[in-house]
């Protein structure tokens, strides 16, 4: 277990300068994430274009793992189809928790989270943003019929 495996350069970089930091206003959907154990709080806002995640931003405060994970997540999911986002959600979850998981080769920078698995108490820090995104998407889906009805008078 090496600290550098947890705090990789990509993680430190995204912690120092988080990408897509802020809030989309107006947003199509939003959700709050809270990790009461360490006090991490994240807010995720997103814009949807049909079945595509058009834009996503986050803000809040948290540890390096939670901030970097959220930043990496926004880069990975922006512009992707909701099916792709769901697949990434599953893959990151497996990467964080499964000991012998063989990740697909297209995970890209998200692979930087691979060291978290060796620090079990930190898994929740890395997964908080994904759960929050998931909750926001659920909220977005719930609102979808109402949006559809206004566009089809």
């Amino acid at each position: 277990m090496d600290l550098r495996d947890l705090y990789r350069e990509v993680i430190l970089d995204h912690n120092r300068s988080p990408r897509n930091f802020g809030r989309l206003e107006p947003a199509d959907a939003a959700a709050n994430g809270h990790n009461p154990l360490c006090g991490d709080r994240l807010h995720v806002t997103l814009k949807l274009d049909g079945e595509r995640l058009d834009d996503v931003r986050f803000d809040g405060q948290g540890c390096a793992i939670s901030v970097a994970s959220a930043s990496l997540m926004t880069e990975a999911v922006k512009g992707r189809s909701l099916a792709d986002v769901d697949r990434l959600y599953q893959q990151v979850h497996a990467l964080l928790t499964e000991q012998n998981y063989a990740p697909p080769t297209d995970l890209g920078k998200l692979m930087a989270l691979g060291g978290v698995r060796e620090f079990p108490v930190r898994v929740k820090c890395a997964s908080l943003c994904w759960h929050t995104l998931h909750a926001a998407l659920e909220a977005g889906r719930a609102e979808a019929p109402a949006v559809v009805s206004t566009e089809q008078p």
């Binding site: 600290l3 430190l12 120092r16 006090g39 390096a64």
Partner: protein
């Protein structure tokens, strides 16, 4: 008055263990202190030789278990100088003690519009039970503010005492900041207006001599596991004049004299408040922990821990970007801090990697964190077994945090 720390450390088997290939540096005694051999031995002896239910059997084991259990109660009485063992109620811990007072004394004595005065530095255990009581009876919870050092100022507290204040409930020592509160003065202020006072002594009893008669408090709560004893055992001291008027809060065996289907009659003090089979081994372990602490001596423990905490504060305070949180003049051996640009959770992981165990987070005192505008802090807390090498390892590990994040 100096401690033979090497000899003391040898009493704590857990200090021999390694974490991540390095010898453990345990700096989380404010969360839970480790147990010395005499405590482990007393608990083990009870399980091997005495185990049976108390206050029930005529057989030898039950009598011996009862003697050991009630013997522990007498040790607690002497430890805090209560007048009588009738004033010593065994509970699960400080949290349960405060809940007992809230649900029994509180529901009996508070009405809509009444107020309970606490402070902004309380542990959740001295906030939430009062909130629950306030919701139930329509009373109001009022909190005295802190100054920037994390101190409660008497004038501010006095200004919040109103004709509707029915109870003052404050920490003796803050777990998050280490602040020692002027509890004698607080009791005097409240008593001048006829208001009873509860003191949350969870962080105090292991470090200073607590004399409930000298403090003149009405309730005093503490836990065994912060006093080098087992978890799951704690004490509520309640002035007998109050306790005898309080209704039972949990019903069941042991707390009754007679039971019929129509009605029951209550047992004497303190058993009226101890429904069901108690934590017998825990109480016996707590008795052994009290013997241990008395044999070492709290003035010597406090002087030793205070010197280590001062050394740690000074060395940590010199590190760039490090901020000490809680700088009260009168302070226990707790060093809370933050580092610019590094979340306390990351500090905790990096220190753990160096086998330095500290607490990170809100310390079950979210209003304190809110007061300072912080999500969390890192906290090193000291016990009688810590030494200067522990302080050096702490400072080196914190310096390592900066290296990782540079």
């Amino acid at each position: 008055m100096s401690l033979d720390v090497a000899n003391l450390r040898a009493q704590f088997p857990i200090l021999q263990r390694q974490v991540n290939g390095r010898p453990l540096v345990y700096l989380d005694s404010a969360a839970s202190a480790q147990m010395p051999r005499p405590v482990l031995a007393a608990v083990d002896h009870y399980h091997r030789e005495l185990h049976s239910n108390v206050h029930r059997g005529v057989h030898t084991l039950s009598q011996q278990a009862t003697d050991a259990f009630e013997g522990a109660r007498e040790k607690v009485r002497a430890f805090i100088n209560a007048r009588s063992t009738r004033e010593i109620v065994f509970v699960r811990g400080t949290t349960e003690a405060i809940n007992l007072v809230a649900q029994s004394w509180g529901r009996q004595n508070l009405q809509a519009g009444d107020e309970i005065l606490i402070t902004h530095l309380e542990h959740h255990a001295n906030i939430v039970p009062w909130q629950m009581l306030c919701q139930a009876v329509g009373a109001k919870l009022v909190a005295a503010p802190l100054n920037q050092h994390g101190e409660v100022q008497l004038e501010a507290l006095q200004g919040l005492l109103s004709p509707r204040t029915r109870l003052v409930a404050v920490a003796h020592v803050s777990n998050a900041l280490g602040t020692v509160l002027p509890v004698r003065d607080i009791v005097a202020l409240a008593h001048a207006r006829g208001i009873p006072v509860l003191l949350d002594g969870a962080q105090a009893v292991a470090h200073e001599v607590v004399d409930v008669q000298a403090l003149d408090c009405d309730f005093y709560a503490f836990s065994g596991h912060k006093l080098y004893g087992p978890t799951g055992i704690g004490v509520l001291y309640a002035r007998e004049a109050l306790l005898k008027l309080m209704p039972p809060w949990q019903g069941g065996g042991d707390m009754i004299l007679t039971v019929s289907i129509e009605r029951s009659t209550w047992n004497d003090l303190p058993w009226r408040f101890e429904a069901g089979t108690p934590n017998i081994s825990g109480a016996i372990g707590l008795g052994a922990a009290i013997d241990f602490v008395e044999s070492v001596g709290r003035p010597a423990i406090a002087a030793h821990e205070g010197a280590l905490a001062a050394r740690a504060s000074e060395a940590l305070g010199r590190l760039p970007g490090l901020r000490l949180v809680g700088t009260a003049t009168h302070k226990a051996a707790v060093v809370s801090f933050t580092m610019d640009g590094v979340h306390p959770h990351d500090i905790g992981t990096i220190l753990d990697h160096e086998a330095v165990a500290i607490r990170t987070g809100h310390h079950c005192a979210m209003p304190v964190m809110e007061y300072y505008g912080l999500p969390a802090t890192a906290r090193a807390s000291f016990g009688c077994y810590n030494n200067e090498a522990d302080v050096e390892r702490l400072v080196a590990a914190v310096s390592r945090v900066r290296e990782v994040f540079s």
